[in-house]
Each structure stands twice: as C-alpha cells, then as structure tokens.
C-alpha cells in the first residue's frame, strides 16, 4: 500500500469511528453499560463515605448572600398558605416507633446547629452560606427510627418534588433540617419554612419546602434522579 492510499484509508476509518462515537450516546446497549457503571460508582462512593468527613467553607470564601441561586419546579414560588392548608407541620413517619408531626415551635425546641458550608450544585458551581437547623440524626432519635430503615425520602409541597437518600448520608452530622439561612429565617426562595441541607449531597438531593420525612426499607427515587441524574449524588 503506498503512502497516499494508506493515509486516506486511515482518514476514512478515523472518520467512521468518530461518526460511530457520535451515535453511541443514544444506543440502549450503551445505556445499559452506563447503568452498570452508575451502580459501581455508587458502591465506590458508599465505601468512601465517612461520618467523620466534614465540609467547611474555605476561610477566604465570600458568602453568596443574594447571589445564592434558587429554583423550584412549580410555576410560582411555593408558599405554604395557612388559611388553606392549616398550620405547617413536618410529618416524620415510616419505619419509626413514634410517627410525629413537628410544628416549627417543636423543631425550635430541638438542639440547634449552625454551619458555614459549601453548597455543591450538579452544574459545577458552589456557593457558601450559613445554614441553621436541626440535625436529622437528632430527629431520627426523637422519633425512634428503626434499624431496618435503609433509606429516607424527603418530600415537599413544591409540586411533588422529593428525593430519597441512603440512611448513612441522612444521618451524617452535617445533614440538617434547615430553618435559618445566613442568620435569618429561611426565605421563600430557599425553601421556607424548612428544607434539607447538607454539603455531602449535590444540591438537587436537598429537598426544599419540606413537608414529610419518611423512613423506608427501599429507595424511592426522586424528582431529578428519576429524570436520569445519579440517584446517589454524593460529594
């Protein structure tokens, strides 16, 4: 084979390989392999996971303040209208000894924690805020979560938005039921009256406009997880 034919054959095969690669991202066979990889990666992430690994925002980092992004899936900012729905409560149920409805007053009586941490969005940005609230592990102790609860589902009044977590991540000391942000009561854009926040999960796992915490024996997907983002989403 002379040089010219050799080079053109090489060029054709490279082009063919390139075109093939352009289509693989939609093939079902590739999707199966990606699903296997996601399961494997979840295993790796779970084995790396430690309650002792804590996040704290870097010393020089500026607080995001008003630049802290917010979103909701409803058409308008979800607002808990007491005249229609009655007083807001946080219902903790499922695999627990004492299913309980917490009012905001009840939550304020539990030990209050404050942490200046990163918020990691799946999009790649991070933002710093001070979150104040109650450790989910304290709430789990208060209601007597059963040992066979391997998962927790965080549900909201934002058009059915929810995300379920593995119990290890939920019981991490930095996983809070947040009622305050940057020293003020949680604002409407950020999930008032209460939300989940933890630096150990990507932003979309942190349900806002919280209404229910359900301890479960199996996982229960989630709003973004069901649309193809990783279910585990740990940091």
């Amino acid at each position: 084979m002379d040089r010219r034919r050799f080079l053109s054959a090489g060029g054709f095969s490279l082009t063919a390989a390139f075109l093939a690669a352009c289509n693989v991202d939609r093939s079902p066979r590739a999707q199966r392999l990606l699903d296997i990889a996601e399961k494997r990666n979840e295993g790796v992430e779970r084995s790396l996971f430690q309650h002792a690994s804590m996040n704290s925002a870097r010393n020089g980092a500026k607080m995001a303040g008003a630049a802290f992004p917010s979103y909701f899936i409803s058409d308008n900012v979800p607002v808990w209208d007491e005249s229609v729905r009655g007083p807001w409560t946080l219902e903790v149920s499922g695999l627990v000894q004492n299913p309980t409805k917490f009012t905001l007053e009840d939550l304020r009586k539990l030990p209050f924690r404050s942490q200046r941490v990163d918020h990691f969005c799946v999009e790649g940005w991070n933002a710093v805020a001070v979150w104040g609230g109650i450790r989910l592990s304290d709430i789990a102790r208060a209601v007597g979560a059963k040992p066979d609860a391997g998962y927790v589902d965080f549900q909201s009044f934002d058009s059915g938005y929810h995300e379920s977590w593995d119990i290890d991540s939920a019981m991490h000391p930095q996983t809070l039921v947040v009622i305050a942000m940057d020293g003020h009561l949680l604002g409407m854009a950020h999930g008032a009256p209460a939300r989940i926040h933890s630096p150990i999960k990507l932003g979309y796992k942190n349900t806002k406009y919280l209404t229910k915490i359900v301890f479960l024996p199996t996982r229960n997907g989630g709003y973004w997880s069901d649309q193809g983002y990783e279910w585990y989403g740990g940091t």
Binding site: L7, D25, A37, L48, K62, G124, A127, I200, T235
Partner: protein
Amino acid sequence: MTARHHWIVRVTHWVNAIALTLMVGSGLRIFNAYPAFARKGEHFCCYPFEHKAIPDVLTFGGWLGGARHWHFAMMWVLVLNGLVYLTFIFLHGEWRDLVPRHGDPRDALAMIKFYLFVTKTHPHQGKHNTLQKETYFFLPILAVVQVLTGLAIWKPVQLGWLTALFGGYVWARYWHFMTMLALVVLSFAHIFMVFAVDPYSLRSMLTGGYREDLSPEARNARPFYHLFPRWRRRATEGE
C-alpha cells in the same frame, strides 16, 4: 521492517485515544452547565471566558446528566487502561525509551534548531526524538494530575484533603480544566507531527512494524518543508 510497538502498547494507545476523546467531550458538556469557575457571589481571577459556553459540536453526552454518566463510566476505562500501559512499560523495559536523561536539554535544543531551519540535518535519534520523548514522558504525568483533580471535584467532601491540596473546590475544578487543555494541546501536537514528519509511525501503532529507512531522521523530515519553494528547499537540504 522492524518490530516497534508491542501489541499491549498498541491496544492501550487506541483505547486511550477513544477514552480520552469521550472524557474531553463529556467533560466539556458538563462544563457547559456552568462555564465559569467563580464561586457564587465572587469573581474569578484567571479565566477570561467566564460564562461563554463551549460549542455543542465539541461536546459529548447530549445533556448534563447524560454527560456525567459517560464521564463517570469512561473514567474507569481511562484509569484501568492507563494502569495496564504503565505497568507494561515498567515491566517490559519500554520506560527506558521515555525517561529524561542527562543531555536531553541539549538534544531538545538541537531538534528545535532543526525544526526552525537553523541547522540542516536531522539530529541523530533513537526510537523517538528528544522533544517527542519528553512529550510521551510528560503525558502520563498530566494524566495522573487529571485523575487526582477529577477525584477532588467528584468527592470534595469525602476526599476533602485532596480538594484542599489543589486549593479548594474552585481551584481544583480550574486545574482539572487547564490540565485537560494541556492534554488536548499535546495530543493535537502529537497528531500533527505524526502526519507532518512521520506518517509511517501510524503503521507501527497499528501493525507494530516500522521501516527505519523511512524514519524522519533517514528522510531528514521536518514540518512545513514541502510548503517551501524549491530553491529554498534545496538550500535547507542536508549534506
């Protein structure tokens, strides 16, 4: 015809070429979800194209979630393939062709002079010329940095010590991007030089065979030579 590349080197080379392409494409797709580095509420000093998206044709995976799945699957191919390659060249001795040696700066300078038409004859070389050798030595080091910065932004809490090592999440993400750029630039330089001075090496990376009588040294080959007018070519021909 002499045997140049062991089949393990050839297979890992092409697996790497595909994996790296998909990693860069899916990485750029992920980057486009937030094509900037600044922490929210801050400015970032060192990237002039903040909030300018990468053209879609250069990305892979279709959407953020899809690209993340590709990125986190292909990373294992890249890492395992790289480990096979490095283990092989370590055990089989090929690493000796790539490690920097005393005298390399001098030889590299001689190559640069030749490519810039300062000297007429191709410096004497072994398997690779010195510039080429240093590139092949440097690429795996960049790859290791790329894997570490990648881990640092994948697990910024559970591997927080690693993230801190690179200056925190924002900087780790920046170094992941810049190392990618370095890998892409060196890869394109590599591909360009294959076609510009040593197209016969393509055969050695496919079948393993290489004709020493067609080596760049034997042909006194340098890039852009054929673009020169005939009289200038004659003037730069070797003895």
